[in-house]
Chain length 119, copies 2
DNA sequence: CGGCATCCACATGGATACTG
DNA sequence: CAGTATCCATGTGGATGCCG
């Protein structure tokens, strides 16, 4: 017991590699930020997320959310009101990514800084 | 003082975001694995890396190494022998990614498993 | 509010072959 | 050994507009 629920995923090569597997799962451009926002601020609606994730388009946000949901990292709850509302929240597996995402954030804070846009 | 050397990098959006910044830096398909191999096994030559990174082509490995070098995450040392040898090793900044890469590896080990290829 | 449809430009990377 | 050259399929995501 203490069996963790595991997601199945393929690796690019022949051998199983947990790093490329994880990178394949959450390595899309906006996935880590989306997960981070949900970790830090809790469940959110679509527009809320779009404003919190700076620079993302609705199309890409939509695709990212679909992808994350299909992989079991987040839940999508539709609230039938007028106007309609949707709440995105992390699943347990999604929340388990906290260490990974915080590692990204901490490293970025320590070793990176904003560069001028080709200035 | 205790100033850490920081790399400059741009974010997709307007605001600076350490997560997307880090993801932009090491978020390429093979970067985390390459860094991991160098962390675990130490400096390596080109072919050595190509055999250790399962599934990568020489073209893509070459491009990845160029990219990582240009970003200051690894060093490239040419050893003039016959036949010529090259040693790739992590810079200090590259080594500082240990936590990030290990977080990816650990999470993958715990929450993922190999899936059959569309079986 | 919470999307989806369309169009399109550019990046990524696999296969293969060749070179100093 | 350590790459480069070429070609090409696919992926990724930005812009814009429309819909329930």
């Amino acid at each position: 017991m203490s069996e963790t629920e595991r997601l199945e995923i393929q690796c690019p090569g022949e051998e199983w590699c947990p790093i490329t597997a994880t990178a394949t799962l959450i390595g899309k451009k906006w996935h880590p930020v989306i997960i981070h926002r949900l970790l830090v601020n809790g469940p959110a609606g679509f527009n809320e997320l779009q404003h919190e994730v700076d620079g993302i388009s609705s199309k890409v946000l939509s695709e990212s959310l679909d992808d994350l949901e299909s992989k079991g990292l987040l839940d999508r709850e539709v609230i039938e009101e007028k106007p309609i509302r949707v709440r995105y929240s992390l699943t347990e597996t999604g929340e388990s990514l906290e260490k990974v995402v915080l590692a990204l954030a901490e490293w970025g804070d320590e070793y990176l800084e904003a560069g001028e846009p080709t200035a």
